[in-house]
Symmetry: C2
Subunit: 689 residues, 2 copies
């Protein structure tokens, strides 16, 4: 059990490493050579085309103005300068709404921290049950500040219950306000956009095949019959994988051509040449510019042949179309209504943004979708509860002896005592670490198999799966003992009223673990996010070896975007921790606040200067954020109930039973009040234009 | 434990009483005096205006043709004569779809019965475990035919599991086919109806109050803006309770006027007179016809004043309107789309039929609806699990001593030994019997409080509540011991895997009870339904004392309608029994078949000749029927799983775990495939006209 001193040491280490990251960032970002890493958004926006300071040769790479080194933390106020509406214009609504999750966290937890610390710490400390126990037993200093310190059957539990009520009301109030704001932001954003094509367009899936008619005729006929006044035209979707391959090839050739032309411009005395064979490594030497120009022409001829082939071949038309209407009204109506008697045909939805569409999933038939969803939900369940089984198997294979057998050359190195002990600590966990690293990718592949047609939707589904994984394996897994599978088994054999007790009783004991978790994953993790170490290294490597033209340099920038599938679930885990521990071990809350504040600053900076969102879903993820905070609230109430029932506080627990029911009712109300704004498009808004 | 002989005796009694009812019906229905009880539908249709045979005075009341007495069972073939499409024209789609539930039952259970009896009875009997046990123990003859007779760990359980698979597939197949047929029947019915007003009409609720505008102006403005091409007009809804009272009074006066005029026509020599005082019992004698004519005139003047008052007073306009469109297309679009940014305002739905509307609930605001639903779901839960508490309290008060104290006059009668023992068996159960009698009414009131606006919806909700009650208190209550509340308590303290075992193990033992239940409630109950004893008595009483004019006689007929809230849940209970016992005690199935066959005949006769449906919902209850049969299937699988696990058939049970998952997947598919046909109105159908 960790004492307050241990926590202090851990805090110091994490604060130091966080500061190291921030310092490194502050120094690296003012070097012109790194400008494209730390300010790519401005390059993409067109506001910047080359690093700002570039007087002499050295100054191109290293910042020589020493004044700027003194103000190295000034990115923080800079990040706060932009207003929310500027952020929406600059980076889109998704980013602005994403930042609101952090401000929501601060708004919820700042008053809660103050109240909890002022009220609960005195109540808990003065109870002093644990002082009577032997010190070397299970007691840590943190526990003396927690609910564990209160005597069983004490009347003081009413304070905890009262605060749970107060916090629930406060959180619900803040959630309601926030949902309201986000919903109206979304509607305003959708209405204010320029008259863009997708607002007049509906994607139609599962178009049936009518014999004797081409797909295009079927679609025209159907919509001319059923939406005669509003139908404008439609755009069929072709299976053009081969054509896309040719397009990529042309890109590559054009790049080589540019490179050679540039070379020729710089040294007009020397005509660039290339070899005709494989990768230009052997074969006849020819004039490079002529060669690539000729290649390009040949390729364009092949592309036009391919295009003709696709347009003629009826098999390459997918049973999907983008149908455009004369008015937003017509599109809103078509997207929201059922078209066909058979509800599995002619499925209409709002067309996602062109960059948001995941093309491969457009043509999945309805029956297949049902089966896919079913299989994936079974697999996610298996993954969440049984992922340890294959990993343990791999671990049993991959140990030091195995390594020595495979690579006997390494034996002398491995047998060194220092390296051996390092490897022994590292190799067995390797499989697990690799698994956790590729987990988001696995979950994303699963979501893709499920058949969603928009990237934004794919990311939301991935995020949900990741949350279940974290909830079971990080939160419950840390509290209960054994693997998730063992827990599942024991829960199945326990009575339903026993489960919250089993978990509830060990919650206060794990407070120190979660405080450390917040510092490692939250503080240091977020500080490392701003440093962008991986893109930094990759950019400089690419710059050294691969970049030939300006276009290549643009590509090498890789600004990335907010990683919704990973950040949102971990954020929700923090909400869960904060809400659960608020009345149990309130000393955890200040650590939370530091995380929320720091992460808000970091992500605000990154959104303004770095990330370039791949798509815009207009904050479509908010209902998930909302409902998962509600779920955290419910979980915290159940766990407190379980904890109190082990404290024999039988006369106070009945007051808690009402709370989950009220919370659920609040959730239902919010769902019907706000969720339609995220799923449907009100006629009122569509007819404003 | 009942032996086969006991069952035989019980069967004999119930068959005899069923025959007695049928015989009484056959004799009573051919008496002209009862013609209006047994054929009211034809009077309402206008196909009949007076009993068929009426030559002499006696012949008016009693059937004197003895030939007709010999063919007294010919109502059965007559009931089968009408085709389904004739029934739809004659009695509406609801009735036709209701009959399909019975044919579905026959289609499902006839093959199942044959297979189960041929396969399982030999397997169970030849196992012969129970023959070794002492006969006087818990064993009945029925048990020897059931799964109880199979030795633990026997390989024979694979036969039961195989049949469970087979039956599940068969039931799902039949359900799918039936859902498909009913859905297309519904769409065809909706499309084929004459161009009736409600197909062009949408009911709009929660119209917001805009200051400075009348409600009517607000509605006009909103729809002219948002549905400019399709909006036709709207009809506001007024709070006209006072006016309705005056209308009822006018009806009464007109009836008296008719009566007096008829009297005058028959005896022109004597002018009818009446007294002006209370109920015509005292006061000045006046000419009756003049008096009532004058009263009518006075009343009509007051009605027109009241009408003006309502139209002028803005407070009497409710925030609800019926909005009519120029085309079905416009109405279909408006009903299916969200109108306003705030999804709790301007709620649009298909307008129910005028006779289907429950007017009182039209003006409930959205927040109130959420709260009402929440309160009612809590109350239903309490009613289902704790209804025994108040009844036990009343029972403890209402006993024989209490009765004697209240009415000492009765003491000598009560003290008679025969009567005392009868009363002692009767009085304590009285509260329970009264409760069960008024239960549907209580549930209907609850549904009304929930705030549904259509009678059909109210009946469906009542039916759902009644089903939960029956499931917990009849099915589970008969299997497990103790009250529902005690079961709930014990289930909360058991592990979730233990519950199906506890219930599963006692299922075979209760087979004889449920066989008796089917005979009493199913056979004799259905036979008594066709006799219509209550309406028969009431009609003749009214005819003797109250009927003055032909209009009164029309009213006294009371054809009633199919009692959906009571019949559908009990039907679903029969499905549950059949599915659960199919592999456990297959001997129960033939009793089921008799019920389904008899009930089908009886209801077909009643629908053709008696019932007059109050509204037409176009089979909107089918999704409930479907999903509750699926729920029965799931329950049967879980219970079989529990039963087998107590039989130590550990090597065979894993095969059963997959089945509920597959069943659920099937249900999900059906839901998305067919349910929209019952909730939405496809654009394709609306634009056909």
């Amino acid at each position: 059990m960790a004492t307050l001193g241990d926590i202090g040491v851990s805090a110091l280490i994490n604060i130091l490493s966080a500061f190291a990251f921030l310092l490194a960032f502050a120094l690296l970002r003012i070097q012109p050579i790194n400008d494209r890493i730390y300010f790519p958004k401005w390059y993409i926006n067109g506001a910047r085309s080359s690093p700002r300071r570039s007087r002499n040769f050295v100054g191109k790479f290293v910042n020589l103005e020493f004044k700027t080194y003194l103000t190295f933390l000034n990115w923080m106020p800079q990040a706060l300068k932009m207003t929310e509406s500027e952020i929406i214009n600059h980076a889109g609504l998704d980013s602005a709404v994403f930042l609101r999750i952090y401000t929501l966290g601060l708004k919820i937890f700042v008053p809660m921290t103050i109240v909890a610390l002022l009220v609960l710490i005195p109540v808990n400390v003065s109870s002093g049950t644990l002082f009577f126990l032997r010190k070397e037993l299970v007691v840590s200093d943190i526990d003396k500040l927690s609910i564990s310190n209160v005597r069983p059957k004490s009347i003081r539990f009413f304070v905890h219950i009262g605060l749970e009520y107060l916090f629930t009301i406060w959180i619900c109030f803040m959630l309601y306000k926030e949902y309201d704001i986000v919903a109206s932001m979304r509607l305003r954003f959708l209405a204010s956009q320029a008259r863009r094509a997708e607002q007049f367009t509906v994607v139609v899936r599962n178009v049936p095949h009518v014999s004797g008619q081409s797909l295009s005729e079927t679609i025209d006929h159907f919509f001319q019959t059923n939406h005669p006044d509003h139908y404008l035209c439609h755009q069929a979707v072709y299976n053009a994988n081969k054509f896309a391959k040719l397009v990529r090839k042309r890109e590559r050739l054009r790049n080589w051509l540019d490179y050679n032309q540039l070379k020729f411009e710089r040294h007009p005395e020397k005509k660039p040449t290339t070899k005709m064979g494989f990768l230009g490594l052997w074969g006849k030497k020819v004039d490079a510019i002529d060669y690539y120009k000729h290649q390009m022409k040949e390729l364009e001829r092949r592309m036009s042949v391919e295009r003709q082939k696709i347009l003629k071949d009826s098999k390459s038309i997918l049973p999907v179309a983008f149908v455009s209407f004369k008015s937003r009204w017509g599109a809103a109506v078509c997207a929201q209504t059922q078209q066909c008697k058979n509800p599995t045909l002619w499925l209409t939805n709002w067309a996602p943004e062109p960059r948001d569409i995941y093309w491969r999933n457009l043509a999945i038939p309805f029956v297949s979708l049902t089966i896919r969803k079913f299989i994936i939900s079974v697999s996610v369940f298996a993954l969440v509860f049984f992922y340890m089984i294959p990993i343990a198997f791999v671990q049993s294979l991959a140990n030091l002896e195995g390594l020595e057998r495979v690579a006997p050359v390494l034996r002398p190195v491995i047998e060194l005592k220092f390296i051996k002990s390092f490897l022994q600590g590292f190799v067995p966990g390797l499989a697990l670490k690799i698994f956790l690293y590729i987990l988001p990718t696995i979950l994303m592949i699963m979501s893709k198999i499920e058949g969603h047609i928009a990237l934004s939707n794919l990311e939301r589904r991935t995020s949900a799966k990741y949350y279940y994984f974290m909830l079971v394996n990080v939160f419950l897994g840390s509290i209960a003992t054994g693997t998730a599978f063992e827990q599942l088994d024991s829960f199945l054999h326990q009575s339903p009223t026993q489960i919250p007790r089993t978990i509830g009783v060990s919650i206060p004991m794990k407070a120190t673990f979660f405080i450390t978790y917040i510092m490692v994953d939250g503080w240091a993790g977020i500080a490392s996010e701003i440093l962008r170490l991986k893109p930094l290294v990759i950019f400089h490597l690419k710059n050294l070896f691969l970049v030939k033209t300006e276009r290549d340099r643009e590509k090498a920038m890789d600004p990335g975007s907010v990683d919704f599938p990973e950040t949102i679930p971990s954020l929700q885990l923090y909400f869960l921790l904060g809400i659960v521990y608020a009345v149990i071990t309130p000393i955890l809350l200040p650590f939370m606040l530091v995380f929320f504040g720091l992460a808000y600053l970091v992500y605000r900076h990154q959104i303004i200067n770095v990330y370039n969102q791949q798509y815009e879903s207009a904050g479509a993820f908010w209902p998930h954020v909302h409902s998962r905070i509600i779920a955290s609230l419910l979980l915290s109430q159940l766990l407190l109930l379980g904890l109190l029932s082990t404290k024999e506080a039988a006369n106070s627990t009945p007051f808690l039973v009402v709370l989950p029911i009220l919370t659920l009712a609040f959730h239902k109300y919010c769902k019907s009040r706000f969720e339609p704004a995220f799923r449907k498009y009100p006629i009122e808004v569509s007819s404003m234009l």
